[in-house]
């Protein structure tokens, strides 16, 4: 019998807000002319991580590597194939979000918010900005219309939609892309949630507003102890927003560490490639080619070997013949899953 240390020492770490263990999500692939067998899409393939209160954990990685799927699992918009998601794991009785049902699931949904990658997805085109932002307040029966008006106006101001009176009664299609994205942010933060999944929340914002929104999110994190899973492609933004960064590749976390350390001394060859692909804001600089083998990564029934094997510039026979490498400490608390790092 194995002892669960966390249960014996309940206050092990009361700062941890969320603890994810062995999380998986598989989809069944459709058979077609190009792919005969059906097979399983390993969208999220056994990941472990923690998010502390008032911490912002960045999740970066290739398009299609499973970031949004991870985010949706954490707020239980979709059900995991396997794994545990413990809320307040330091408490006597942590909640396993992965198996919640009925009333407790509803109660949980109130504490978490997701800011969607695509702000169109979360907005009803026939509802005004006021109705959209006030919706979570209405759902949770918090205050009356006048109070809503007040809080929504305040929130719009915080995200830079000023003067609020000129935005309140517009419809989503009457806003620019970035303005719509800010409406989504305002809507997620208005209920002061405990945990927020932010899926590319500032991708459409220009720099002057982005810095403001980044500060707003940080400030709310500090004041209310909000934990963030901050999904982004923009490593420069992650550098300013995230305390730690996790790098995903084909459903696996391949590296995780403290932000500056990871950006300055990346250990995993994928992280290294990622960093070398970041554009440089200097038109006279010619960035050298990125060190990664071409080709597309397909998450259908991946072979039991390093997920990065076929694209890795360092790969050798050992990598080919062994299972996917475990996440191991490579110094300074930085974990990487690579035999060569």
């Amino acid at each position: 019998m194995t002892l669960d240390i966390a249960k014996l020492v309940p206050s092990l770490d009361s700062r941890i807000l969320l603890k994810v263990e062995g999380l998986r999500k598989y989809y069944r692939a459709t058979a077609n002319r190009f792919r005969r067998n059906r097979g399983l899409i390993h969208a999220v393939d056994g990941i472990d991580f923690e998010v502390a209160k008032d911490e912002s954990l960045g999740l970066v990685g290739e398009s299609g590597c499973g970031k949004t799927t991870t985010g949706k699992l954490l707020v239980r918009l979709i059900d995991p194939t396997a794994g545990r998601i413990l809320l307040n794991p330091g408490q006597q009785q942590p909640t396993d979000i992965a198996t919640l049902k009925g009333k407790p699931l509803k109660a949980f949904r109130r504490k978490v918010q997701i800011i969607f990658q695509d702000p169109y997805e979360s907005m009803n085109p026939r509802r005004t900005i006021f109705d959209t932002v006030a919706e979570p307040l209405k759902v949770q029966k918090m205050g009356g219309t006048l109070e809503h008006l007040d809080r929504v106006s305040h929130m719009l101001e915080l995200v830079g939609l000023t003067p609020p009176s000129t935005f309140l009664f517009r419809y989503p299609h009457e806003l620019s892309g970035g303005q719509r994205q800010r409406v989504a942010i305002a809507r997620a933060l208005i209920v002061e949630p405990a945990f927020v999944v932010a899926d590319e929340p500032t991708s459409m914002l220009d720099v002057s507003i982005r810095t403001g929104v980044m500060r707003l999110m940080e400030e709310l994190a500090a004041r209310l102890g909000i934990g963030y899973l901050y999904i982004t492609h923009d490593l420069a933004v992650a550098r300013y927003v995230c305390d730690r960064i996790a790098v995903m590749y084909l459903g696996k976390i391949v590296e995780v560490g403290e932000t500056e350390e990871l950006l300055q001394r990346p250990k995993h060859p994928y992280t290294q490639a990622l960093l070398s692909a970041v554009p440089v804001p200097d038109p006279t600089f010619t960035r050298p080619p990125v060190r990664i083998k071409g080709g597309v990564s397909v998450p259908v029934d991946p072979p039991d070997q390093c997920r990065f094997y076929s694209r890795c510039p360092l790969a050798d026979d050992f990598c080919r013949d062994n299972p996917h490498p475990p996440l191991e400490d490579k110094g300074a608390g930085q974990l990487a899953a690579c035999y060569k790092a």
Binding site: G61, D118, E174, M204, D206, A236, R239, P283
Partner: protein, 321 residues
């Protein structure tokens, strides 16, 4: 330069009417693009970048009106053209990758079919040929050809975006307008697509308008950069000139607010004050309420164009030099 520009925009002005009045989204915009050239458009959210793009394609909503100006495409003004004539230009001559285009795919049809349909509508190519072409385009945008016969909901956000890029490239247009095309993509795919787009652009001598808020991407893709603020282009010039010796105070603040992964982590600059209200934009220079260099004249008189070679900015207190 004797050759006629592919696109010349003169004094273009387009407003949206809403209950509260007129949103002055595009206000007296003038610029041109040579064949094979890439123009980068940067600027604050809501400054009118997408509005310019939609005006150029004449894909405007009912509440929009083009009040003034010309859009000369190969010398032909397309502003007065009928919708029917316009359709000959759209997609064949000018095509566009829309901002947040991921949602413009029809959810009930397979993605590949939608691209093939676009191809066949414009090129009358045979089925087999189209399929082959779609495969090639999937290669260009780094998508697994197995995805051709899958539905949009089975794609991740970035995969959908790449399919849209493939669709826009399908008809090999003279001018392609790309509105934040790679914002949803990871940097490795972005790097790949930008390198590919540049080589296709060179190969076909295609011109491009590239809209992005990402100064670093703009630095890498554009030959010429236009900076927008509140419905106007406030600075325009060669990319190196604009980046290394910006004239307009707004351009300067953009540069200082831009985060970078390399170098020392410095404090990011912010713009103080509120973004302009396009229903009632400030008098004089529209940037004056937020400008650290503003003087009295800025608040009541339209700023003059300050020229340095092929580089200009509209400002009373030009910087640098």
């Amino acid at each position: 330069m004797s050759e006629r520009p592919v696109l010349a925009v003169e004094d273009l002005t387009m407003h949206y009417s809403i209950k509260a009045g007129a949103v002055r989204a595009v206000d007296g915009v003038t610029f041109s693009i040579e064949r094979g050239q890439a123009l980068g458009l940067v600027g604050e959210s809501g400054s009118g970048k997408s509005s310019i793009a939609m005006t150029l394609l004449r894909l405007l909503p009912d509440n929009a009106q083009i009040l003034r100006g010309k859009i000369l495409l190969d010398g032909v003004d397309i502003v007065p053209l009928s919708e029917e004539r316009m359709r000959e230009y759209r997609w064949n001559r000018i095509s566009m990758i829309f901002q947040a285009a991921m949602n413009s795919l029809n959810p009930v049809y397979k993605v590949g079919e939608q691209i093939i349909e676009a191809l066949e509508a414009h090129l009358e190519s045979a089925r087999e040929e189209s399929i082959e072409r779609v495969r090639r385009l999937y290669d260009v945008v780094n998508l697994d050809p197995g995805l051709i016969v899958r539905y949009p909901h089975e794609y991740s956000g970035g995969m959908r975006q790449r399919a849209i890029i493939a669709m826009a490239l399908a008809c090999e247009p003279d001018l392609i307008i790309a509105d934040e095309p790679t914002t949803a993509l990871d940097v490795i795919v972005q790097d790949h697509i930008l390198r590919e787009m540049r080589s296709i652009q060179a190969e076909l001598d295609m011109s491009m308008i590239y809209i992005s808020h990402d100064m670093a991407v703009i630095a890498e893709v554009s030959d010429v950069v236009g900076v927008m603020y509140a419905g106007k282009i406030v600075e325009l010039g060669g990319t190196a000139d604009v980046f290394h010796s910006p004239i307009h105070p707004y351009t300067r603040s953009l540069m200082s607010a831009f985060p970078s992964v390399t170098g020392k982590k410095r404090e990011l600059g912010t713009l103080t004050g509120e973004p302009p209200n396009l229903l009632d934009p400030p008098e004089g220079c529209r940037f004056h309420p937020r400008c650290p260099y503003a003087t009295d004249v800025c608040s009541n008189q339209e700023p003059p164009k300050v020229r340095r070679g092929n580089h200009w900015a509209a400002c009373w207190n030009p910087q640098g030099e």
